[in-house]
Amino acid sequence: MDNNFRYCLSAGYVKIIGGICMTEHRLDCMFEACPIPLLKAHKKLQTMKIGEILIMQTDHNCSIINVVEWAKKQGHYIDYIELGEGQWEIYIEKAK
């Protein structure tokens, strides 16, 4: 637990939820055209470690479809919620 906690702190944004330490990365893709959210997510996930979570916001409804499909194909955990009218927040946990 100690080592894990130290790693979490040094990795940046840290959140303690239910006693488990999660490292989160954020990506704001609002107002960005169709392929950009997927490409940015792809690039960001390559720099992340397994178990880290990427949170991205997007307002393109094609992005929720193609990012979700791509992440599933790569074997990551993914889900999203709708923040408001035509705005979504996607959660991807790197699993591979």
């Binding site: 609002m30 055209a33 479809i65 009218e85």
Partner: protein, 172 residues
């Protein structure tokens, strides 16, 4: 998740879209004699606006040759293609409103705006050379058994590849 929720709230699978669009195109051809096409309506919009500014483009070489001339009783603002274009926009708006996903999505920065404008101009210019866009020279042309549909599809792929390289370099 019951069927109603799946049908109405979640996005439809891609293949459903493909099937429905194919069927609608057939229906359009059967009932109106013309297949689905879009971009000439943009030309008409421009022509109509230019006419309002006093510039008459009816005598251009384009309209005297292959160019899609207006039928009897049509104007640049009131014609079958304009109706299709407006109907598509309203259909999409209605669908977005139904699932409460409509929202004004602003422009992010000047770079994106430049690329949008440039992309639009390139696309518009290209459609005049190939007699159609992704719909008129591809989705409707291939089922019409015209070779230009296949050639357009292949080279649109080439262009998309080049465009992706540009995208990677300048935007990402």
């Amino acid at each position: 998740m019951n069927l109603k929720h799946r049908l109405l709230k979640k996005p439809w699978p891609y293949w459903v879209g493909g099937v429905v669009l194919g069927l609608l195109n057939i229906f359009l051809l059967f009932t109106t004699g013309s297949a689905w096409k879009i971009t000439t309506s943009f030309l008409y919009l421009g022509a109509g606006l230019l006419n309002k500014l006093g510039i008459n483009i009816n005598d251009w070489y384009y309209f005297k040759t292959y160019g899609t001339k207006l039928n009897v009783g049509e104007t640049y603002f009131s014609n079958s293609l304009m109706i299709m274009a407006i109907a598509m926009i309203l259909g999409s708006l209605a669908s977005a409103l139904f699932v409460s996903e409509f929202g004004i999505k602003k422009i992010k920065n000047k770079k994106q705006l430049t690329f949008a404008l440039l992309g639009g101009i390139m696309m518009g210019y290209g459609t005049r050379l190939s007699f159609g866009c992704n719909v008129g020279a591809y989705f409707s042309a291939i089922p019409s058994f015209s070779l230009h549909g296949w050639i357009f599809g292949i080279f649109m792929f080439v262009g998309a590849w080049i465009g992706s390289k540009i995208l990677f370099k300048y935007i990402l």
